[in-house]
């Protein structure tokens, strides 16, 4: 019985790999399975190699596995590129001309089928693009899925936007593929998947989950500039925000995006922006302004591979320290790092409340993998969402006030806020050092007090922040520390280690700043071998830990600075090696 299966679709940019993968993921989700997807795309519109993996499992999964069970290749190159990943009994469908087979010692046990998808599509449906739907039909057969599931998906996708005829043609093509697959594959080659109830779950990407979280949290203003892989957040929200009375503005650049977000927030909106790589660097100046003028702001940063323009379609965790130590001057900030799509939702909601409560910028730091890949998760419970606007006053509360102080020196350092148009609340949001009312002040004593006010605001914040989460066996000697999208691979690796009788624990940081030093210190004290797992070159998280937890024992780095996400193996192996 199959309980876990990975299907890879590979071809060239322009082949429709994305479409095919997305539909397949949805299909398997509707079949009741848990889903994790992963894409490896070039930064080019046409012509270069592309692949998309859908892993499905009967049990809860968070990451990819080490192998591919079925490869659907739109050309022969893809076979050669991915052969090492294909499972011993794997199946390959290929639409290559003249399929050049790899040497037999590499193909033993695997099944190869030539499947003239393009030709069939042209012949039967007049257009090459139907190749993708034919392929989906074929996969439906191979996995023994209910063909009507695909029909449903097509009508959801096309009925409203493209009409009945398009739906019909797609359904037809899928059936055609289904039958064709039956013709060319032996019954024994099928990988039939048990159907499970498709209960209260959704299939969602991190970017969408952040969008949905923002919508639920009352975000009503979004300003951003296009950049991969972050644009999807606002391009999702742009469909909903206006209906909720809000607005999405595409700005001329990222400088404008964050400054505009600050203007909107100053005037009363829950406002947000999103960006990646180069755009984040451009936001550093206004980030500092948010800190100085104490303006709530939420920034989603979906990390891609740097430096400079880097590799815009590859994932990385190489911008961590930028948000913590970057920008000029010293000011309070909060950096959150969700590790699952569910946390993308929860931490986004939290980000808005934290921004309002502590009147400072809050960064939601994710990665391309987290942002663009899909995962199944329990449907979000909106009734649990709370909107807390902190010390935002109201026109009523200001009645009778004669001496409103926007930057009042309070015990907790957080001051009451008024909004433009509110009587008695007139003040200045000031980028220069200022007095309690917001006006420029160069008095040394005032400076000291204002720095202390701002910098101590977060001293008592820890109950409101997302504490680290511990996974695995309480007493294990092996301890992992990580954050964000490496979670899936770490959990898979822990399972593989468990099987090898090496129990392990994992401290998943969800707030990177203010740094959860007590929890990390405790975890360090309790584990013998600590591995900090990061998708970057220099071990940014390990650097951060060392700078914040002192004394700090030895930290071993498990780093991956390649263009691919961690495989579980890449984590298991160094651990086993270090224990030999």
């Amino acid at each position: 019985m199959i309980k876990d299966l990975s299907v890879m679709i590979a071809g060239k940019a322009g082949d429709g790999v994305l479409f095919t993968g997305n539909v397949l993921a949805k299909l398997l989700k509707r079949h009741g399975w848990e889903i994790v997807t992963s894409r490896d795309f070039p930064s080019n519109i046409r012509g270069e190699s592309t692949c998309y993996t859908v892993r499905a499992s009967l049990d809860k999964i968070y990451g990819l596995s080490d192998q591919v069970d079925i490869l659907l290749a739109f050309d022969c190159e893809a076979i050669l590129a991915h052969l090492p990943e294909i499972a011993a009994n794997g199946i390959v469908f290929c639409d290559g001309q003249g399929l050049t087979m790899p040497p037999p010692e590499q193909t033993r046990g695997k099944t190869f089928h030539r499947f003239s998808l393009r030709a069939l599509a042209r012949e039967q449906f007049g257009q090459e693009i139907f190749k993708n739907v034919i392929a989906l039909g074929a996969l439906s057969y191979l996995l023994d899925l209910d063909p009507s599931l695909l029909d449903g998906i097509f009508s959801e996708m096309f009925l409203k936007r493209k009409g009945e005829e398009v739906v019909r043609k797609n359904v037809q093509a899928a059936r055609f593929g289904y039958e064709k697959a039956r013709e060319i594959t032996a019954e024994a080659e099928r990988h039939p998947l048990t159907k499970k109830a498709d209960d209260d779950r959704i299939l969602i990407s991190g970017n969408e989950a952040i969008g949905l979280g923002a919508l639920a949290a009352g975000c009503r203003y979004f300003a951003a500039y296009p950049i991969c892989p972050a644009s999807e957040i606002w391009q999702w929200l742009v469909h909903y925000l206006p209906d909720f009375g809000g607005a999405v503005v595409q700005t001329e650049d990222e400088l404008a995006a964050l400054n505009m977000t600050l203007g909107a927030s100053f005037a009363g909106a829950r406002a947000m922006t999103s960006t990646s790589g180069p755009g984040a660097s451009l936001m550093m100046e206004a980030f500092s302004l948010a800190g100085m003028a104490e303006i709530p702001a939420v920034i989603a940063h979906v990390q891609r591979m740097g430096p400079a323009t880097g590799m815009p379609t590859k994932s990385q965790q190489g911008d961590v320290l930028q948000w913590i130590f970057g920008s000029h001057g010293e000011f309070p900030r909060i950096v959150l790092a969700p590790g699952t799509v569910g946390e993308c939702f929860d931490l986004t909601v939290g980000a808005f409340n934290l921004a309002d409560k502590y009147q400072c910028p809050v960064v939601i730091l994710t990665e391309l993998d987290m942002g663009q890949d899909f995962r199944t998760t329990r449907a979000f419970d909106f009734s649990r969402v709370r909107v807390d606007r902190g010390k935002l006053l109201s026109p009523e509360k200001l009645l009778g006030t004669t001496d409103f102080k926007r930057y009042e020196l309070t015990a907790d350092g957080i001051s009451p806020r008024s909004l433009p148009s509110w009587k008695n609340g007139v003040h200045l949001a000031e980028s220069l050092e200022h007095d309690e009312k917001g006006y420029r002040d160069e008095d040394p004593l005032n400076r000291r007090r204002m720095m202390e006010k701002r910098m101590h605001k977060l001293d008592q914040a820890s109950p409101d922040l997302f504490p680290p989460q511990t996974w695995g066996c309480q007493k294990a000697e092996v301890g992992f520390i990580g954050f964000g999208s490496t979670l899936g691979a770490i959990l898979e690796a822990m399972e593989q280690l468990r099987v090898k009788n090496v129990p392990s624990r994992f401290l998943q940081l969800r707030t990177l700043w203010p740094f959860p030093a007590p929890e990390v210190r405790e975890f360090l004290a309790e584990s013998r071998d600590i591995f900090v797992v990061e998708h970057n070159f220099s071990g940014e998280l390990a650097t951060l830990i060392k700078s914040q937890v002192s004394p700090c024992g030895e930290l071993k780095n498990i780093l991956n600075y390649s263009t691919r996400p961690f495989t579980p193996r890449e984590i298991v192996e160094p651990v086993l090696r270090s224990r030999r």
């Binding site: 959704i202 299939l203 969602i204 969408e208 949905l212 919508l215 639920a216 949290a217 009352g218 009503r220 203003y221 300003a223 909903y240 206006p242 209906d243 909720f244 009375g245 809000g246 607005a247 503005v249 700005t251 001329e252 400088l255 404008a256 400054n259 505009m260 600050l262 203007g263 909107a264 927030s265 100053f266 005037a267 009363g268 909106a269 406002a271 206004a286 302004l289 003028a293 449907a379 909106f382 969402v385 709370r386 909107v387 606007r389 909004l419 433009p420 148009s421 509110w422 009587k423 008695n424 007139v426 003040h427 200045l428 949001a429 000031e430 980028s431 220069l432 917001g438 006006y439 420029r440």
Partner: protein, 286 residues
Amino acid sequence: MKVKESYHRLDPTWCKGCGLFGVFDALKRAAVALDIEPEELVIVTGIGCHGRLNNYFRAYGFHGLHGRTMPVATGIKLVNPSLQVVAVSGDGDAYSIGLGHFLHSVRKNIGLTYIVVDNRIYALTLGQASPTTDFGTVTVSTPLGSKDFPIDGPSLALAAGGTFIARGFSGEVAHLASLIERGMKHNGLALIDILSPCVTYNKVNSYDWYKKHIFHVEDLPGYSPKDKAKAWEALISPEKIAVGLIYEEDKPSFEELVLPDRERPIASLDLKVDVLRLGKIQDRFR
């Protein structure tokens, strides 16, 4: 009924004779004329001597970063379009580091009044050449004379599709006040570029110099601010600097176009979690 004192917070400490006093006064007069509550007025300033205005003028204010008045002001305006949002920049702030934002705000026709106090110098940073400094001018940054050809904000605004383009002179406060007042009533972005002497760092473009070098478009026979070709001619006139309301056009403002409901400003939306509605949206992910 407002009086000028309604908007007075502090006496300015600009250098005696600085053109900014005229701007300060004109802005107060315009506010009086429109009878605006100080609470309904938001002044967004850039960084420079002009940016000190917020300290002196009683109204809500946002003194942000150098060159970024426009995006900040836009954020404010869109979130609460009933506010009167006035941005004040210098020539460096608006036409150098902020040039891109300026022109994009113009083309979007956002409902802002943009006052650019052009003293043809970087004053607060002690006197470097600015994008409007005359060719050949000696400054601390151009000891051999500036080698840059100056640019003209109003011409650029016209080319970017601006719908209200005016130029005033801080030596003519009443006239300037009336331009600002009209600008504040305009639906869309109103640029009021102001010729304004910096008595400390710009010894060339003084009050007297301007008096000799300006002309009022109102004085041109048959001039109509609705005629774009005429406006262009007035602006590229090589002899003298055009002052007055140079160009005006009706075009929908950005707020009009993008805000779903101008009567329910974003700033005062109820953010209660609509569980049902969100649930329906979530269903698309099932």
